[in-house]
């Protein structure tokens, strides 16, 4: 090595298939965390008189009503816990997501840090060992906390040990895609149920319902601080959609997606992200054009549906642009 050689290491190639696996690894772990939080919040929340309806909401968020009723007669704590935690045949269960996360991690094992792999492997073993006896009402919150914390431990280990080359950018793309998707789903189903009651006035509201929505997005306390005087639908929607200080807002996640896509273009000279970047632009534009009036009269829901479809298309753009492999 000559003295004039730059200290910056040469760019290493990333196998296209590994890029896609990285994207999925991040998505599945994020999915476990989101689902665990949602189950926990729903569980805590379901202990009021209106039990059935609240357990239904989690099915609506995931679009699982049909699949669920193929297996269970009634949505209650036991059946929902079984469906979303244990059921290996349910593609939206923790069990399935974790198995998929581990499979992707195995594929990437030479690429991710040893500490990441070890934690995923142990986490997967713990989830695989769960039985119905672990999920009874008296223990359910503890299991949800374990799942959430294990996913968060993964995030911490990833932050601290995952080498930040191309693969890391794909990992982050996966995480932000999943978060953006999850927030639109949460907002769609809950807002749908809550907003009509408040369309007339911003005054009388069911604080508990809004609390649970914000807690399911891990945004309750931040929202209280931001809006100490109470709940207004447009403020809740604005918080979840465009508040760029809130880690799970759609707007922040779009900004992160844009940054990582740009990094892949500028630092690694990858040309495959043009279509994805364009779509992020479109989504950003649509978000910033939203007005208060768009939130009422049932206009939010079609908008969120559209966003969800666009986020799915964005994932496809990224896979097509970078993982087609030439």
């Amino acid at each position: 090595m000559s003295d004039t050689e730059p200290l910056i290491p040469r760019v290493h190639h990333l196998i296209a298939r590994h890029a896609e696996s990285t994207l999925w690894l991040a998505r599945y772990i994020e999915r476990v965390e989101n689902l665990a939080r949602l189950l926990d919040v729903t569980n805590t929340f379901a202990r009021d008189a209106d039990d059935t309806r609240n357990w239904l909401s989690i099915l609506r968020i995931n679009g699982d009503q049909v699949e669920f009723y193929k297996r269970h007669q009634e949505a209650n704590q036991a059946t929902v816990a079984d469906f979303y935690v244990l059921d290996a045949d349910n593609p939206t269960s923790v069990q399935t997501a974790m198995a998929a996360a581990r499979e992707n991690a195995r594929t990437l094992r030479a690429l991710i840090s040893t500490e990441m792999w070890l934690q995923i492997n142990v986490f997967h073993g713990r989830i695989k060992a769960l039985t119905a006896a672990d999920l009874t009402a008296d223990h359910f919150t503890a299991v949800c906390a374990m799942l959430k914390e294990a996913a968060q431990a993964h995030n911490g280990i990833t932050e601290g040990t995952f080498y930040r080359d191309q693969a890391w950018h794909f990992y982050m793309l996966g995480r932000y895609l999943e978060r953006a998707d999850q927030t639109t789903r949460l907002l769609d189903t809950r807002f749908h149920a809550l907003a009509p009651r408040m369309a007339a006035s911003d005054g009388e509201i069911d604080a508990g319902q809004w609390n649970s929505l914000l807690r399911a997005a891990a945004g309750y306390h931040a929202y209280r601080r931001e809006h100490p005087s109470g709940y207004r639908p447009r403020e809740v929607a604005g918080f979840l959609l465009v508040n760029t200080a809130f880690p799970r807002s759609v707007g922040l996640n779009l900004a992160q997606l844009e940054w990582h896509l740009t990094q892949l273009r500028t630092r690694y000279n990858l040309r495959g992200g043009a279509k994805a970047l364009e779509r992020v632009d479109t989504l950003n534009g649509a978000l910033t054009r939203q007005t208060v009036s768009d939130l009422v009269d049932g206009r939010l829901s079609p908008f969120l549906d559209w966003m969800q479809r666009e986020i799915a298309a964005l994932h496809a753009d990224i896979v097509e642009g970078f993982c087609g492999g030439g």
């Binding site: 190639h13 590994h18 195995r106 094992r109 792999w117 070890l118 492999g325």
Partner: protein, 510 residues
């Protein structure tokens, strides 16, 4: 390959307090009546730890005294920790059945197998010599075939061998190296003599366990290792990568090396991960590679990128559906053609299977003498080639004591384990052997050395072998140590992981 010994030999050894070999009874002074070695009695087997008849080594004596001071409960606790750790780390192979996939560890025995400097010197130089001879033999049989013309090795044995690859005829490989990674299976007999049992010249596995076992020892038994100057095994990935870079097409200054694996469902997948990581190269599958314009490319996020050396962990037959098995989904179409054009290097070379064939093995001492004009530093297990009249006569005379193995892959003919066979079986085999002597080799039943190993009953003697790994680009380098496999079942000589085998850390003392 399973190692076979007569059960008579075992029963004779029972109850003997001191082995018959070596006048010095070091064992009696070194083994304290407490600690993990309490009740340990190797009987008539050669014990790698007590080494009767061999000069004492201060490191080994220190290790023994530490083991003697360690309560068995401590060893068991560490063993449990190690087992859990291996599972959590996924240092496992996956066993698939219809509905489930179970991750299994290769059982790890904590008590290390130790090699002294003179012992290692013999193994290292012996392996280097053997790899050299193997490569010269392969070059010869794919070029001038002098060794066949000189009738040192029967031509039909080589040219008619299923491992002989026509595509290799007249093809030159860099430095004449065909066997870039070689695993040489070595055993030790009752007198403590090392002998080669088998050469693995295709895609030998197990090296990941060599390194991982050392890391495990460092984690759970660091107090045992302190101050012993055990030679490092950390260099393997670097050495392997550099050998792979050496054999890349000459015009490339910064070659791209990849490791080609059958994928995550392969039982050796962990090792593929390990090696890719240690080499710092992409772990690819056949579907990640493509051949265009006579060159090999990998599919990356930036499009196609050139590949210069492929360290492949896929068998010859599956490498390229154009050249070999047309049904292979694991390989890369056109790979062999690209290789023949010299745009890519493949390690190990195709067609090395002929060199680690059981029949060719019998000729290895002669092959070594033929090319190198040297005696083998590591002898073969005494092997008689029944095609030769004297050998046949001896084999027929001593059938009840011998193991007779079929050499060609003719199928249907099992091997004979003399000491286990009935009179009727011996008589029948005698007829078969006489009818086609060229199809057989015979070997004495082996009394493999033992090493103290943790069992349910305490620390007991268990049979072991050794597989050192040699990496060859321009020159040969041998990883200090190797994989020590141990037959965990009492009396068993089968060290294979599929049949109750485990492994030990192997210490080469400086």
């Amino acid at each position: 390959m399973p190692l076979i010994a007569g059960s008579q030999t075992q029963s004779q050894s029972q109850g003997q307090m001191v082995g018959p070999i070596g006048g010095q009874t070091q064992s009696q002074t070194l083994v304290q009546p407490h600690g993990v070695l309490q009740g340990y009695d190797p009987g008539s087997w050669f014990c790698e730890m007590l080494r009767p008849g061999h000069p004492p080594h201060p490191g080994l004596s220190l290790l023994l005294s530490r083991l003697a001071a360690m309560p068995i409960e401590s060893l068991r606790r560490r063993a449990a920790d190690a087992e859990r750790d291996l599972l959590e780390r996924g240092i496992t192979f996956t066993v698939y059945s219809d509905a489930t996939a179970i991750d299994r560890i290769l059982p790890f025995d904590l008590i290390p197998r130790v090699l002294t400097p003179p012992e290692w010197h013999q193994i290292e130089t012996g392996v280097v010599q053997r790899v050299r001879a193997l490569n010269m033999f392969l070059h010869d049989i794919y070029h001038d075939r002098k060794i066949l013309a000189d009738k040192i090795v029967p031509a039909e044995l080589v040219l008619g061998n299923s491992g002989y690859c026509q595509a290799m005829v007249g093809f030159d490989v860099p430095f004449g190296t065909y066997v870039h990674v070689c695993g040489t299976d070595i055993v030790r007999d009752n007198a403590g003599r090392f002998m080669v049992l088998e050469d693995n010249a295709r895609t030998p596995s197990g090296v990941a366990y060599v390194v991982e076992n050392r890391h495990m020892t460092a984690r759970v038994l660091s107090d045992l290792m302190t101050g012993l100057s055990v030679r490092s095994v950390d260099e393997y990935g670097l050495r392997l990568h550099n050998a792979m870079a050496e054999i890349a097409p000459a015009a490339v200054s910064d070659p791209q090396v990849v490791l080609l694996s059958p994928g995550i469902f392969n039982s050796a997948y962990f090792e593929h991960v390990f090696l890719a990581r240690e080499m710092g190269v992409p772990l690819v599958e056949g579907r990640d590679l493509t051949v265009e314009d006579g060159k090999v490319w990998m599919r990356t996020t930036a499009g196609l990128a050139p590949v210069h050396t492929i360290y492949r962990r896929i068998g010859d037959d599956f490498l390229d559906p154009d050249a070999f098995n047309p049904d292979s989904m694991l390989g890369v179409r056109g790979l062999i053609e690209a290789w023949r054009r010299g745009t890519v290097a493949i390690a190990n070379a195709v067609g090395t299977g002929v060199a680690d064939d059981k029949a060719v093995y019998a000729y290895m001492p002669r092959i070594i003498r033929y090319y190198l004009s040297e005696d083998p530093i590591l002898p073969n297990v005494e092997t008689r080639i029944c095609a030769e009249p004297d050998a046949l006569a001896y084999t027929l005379d001593h059938l009840p004591e011998l193991v007779v193995k079929p050499v060609a892959e003719s199928g249907g003919y099992g091997l004979l384990i003399g000491p286990h066979a009935t009179q009727a079986e011996l008589a029948e085999f005698r007829t078969r052997l006489k009818a086609n002597p060229a199809n057989y080799i015979s070997q004495p039943t082996l009394a493999l050395s033992v090493s103290p190993t943790l069992s349910e009953e305490g620390v007991r003697p268990r049979h072991i072998d050794l597989r050192p790994f040699a990496v060859t680009g321009r020159e040969t380098w041998v990883l200090p140590g190797g994989l020590t496999r141990v037959a965990l079942r009492e009396g068993s000589l089968v060290v294979n992981s599929s049949q109750g085998g485990g492994s030990k850390d192997t210490w080469v003392l400086a």
